[in-house]
């Protein structure tokens, strides 16, 4: 199964939301970010990787340090989260509609049992 890499994935985790909040203020390196959390550095590193894959942050190598920066272009999507939420509902109701017709067809087939 293909792994989801979108806004929902990016913000699905409280630690990632907190990382976004931190980096939105200023670019930070991995160590500085990790200092803000009680979890292990590899765990933070993994969250950063996911945020990067979701297009929310970019990672810049400066000498030995890797700096994490917010990617403004993709933030529009994040800030339109209610829009995302609505799209989810449109999809869900479409899937409900399909199911209603499946159920109807099934019931008609077994009409006698009804």
């Amino acid at each position: 199964m293909e792994t989801r890499r979108d806004v929902f994935q990016a913000i699905a985790d409280p630690t990632r939301r907190e990382i976004i909040r931190l980096i939105a203020k200023q670019p930070m390196n991995l160590n500085a970010i990790a200092d803000n959390f009680d979890v292990t550095r590899p765990a933070i590193s993994n969250h950063i990787r996911i945020l990067n894959e979701c297009g929310i942050i970019e990672i810049e190598q400066q000498g030995r340090e890797r700096y994490c920066k917010i990617q403004p272009a993709n933030l529009k999507e994040v800030s339109d989260w209610i829009g995302q939420f609505n799209a989810l509902w449109e999809q869900r109701l479409e899937s409900f509609e399909k199911y209603v017709y499946q159920l109807k067809a099934k019931r008609n087939k077994h009409g006698r049992k009804k």
């Binding site: 409280p14 939105a24 999809q91 899937s95």
Partner: protein, 153 residues
């Protein structure tokens, strides 16, 4: 600012007319055995953890994402009129909390008119939620991101 758009954004309404009898549409909407068939996006496993279909009753569905994180949908029914109307509070964690879901059903011979809306909390309520930390910092992150966007544009 975005205040003008906000009210329209706050309420989502979807209307559909089903070519199916009211009883069937209602059943598909309220019974757990049916809910598991349409609630979750494709490929996502869903579990109905709680389903007390009565006023004051709680419902809770969980969906497992490929990475092991859970999406939780839950709420408390505040009004149920059989074959007509369901109003429930709803939280969709971690996305959004404190919304109200309204589902209205109307019989039209063999068809069913269905009106669904989700009402997001008022501004004041949203601010209050943020203060209480309901959004786990997401609300304030959004504010900062928007401020950042404004400076970059």
């Amino acid at each position: 600012m975005e205040e003008k758009n906000d009210l329209a954004k706050r309420i989502l309404t979807i209307k559909k007319t089903f070519d199916a009898p009211l009883e069937l549409v209602w059943e598909a909407w309220v019974q757990p055995e049916h809910i598991v068939k349409w609630w979750a996006p494709k490929g996502m496993a869903i579990k109905v953890v709680k389903h007390e279909f009565k006023v004051g009753g709680e419902w809770k569905y969980t969906m497992l994402m490929p990475d092991g994180n859970e999406f939780i949908s839950e709420g408390v029914y505040s009004e149920i009129v059989m074959l007509k109307k369901i109003i429930t509070s709803a939280n969709f964690r971690p996305m959004t909390e404190g919304v109200e879901m309204r589902s209205l059903f109307e019989k039209d011979s063999d068809k069913t008119h269905f009106t669904f809306s989700v009402v997001h909390p008022t501004e004041e309520y949203k601010i209050q939620q943020e203060k209480m930390g309901f959004y786990n910092g997401w609300g304030s992150a959004l504010t900062r991101l928007e401020a950042l966007l404004a400076t970059l544009k």
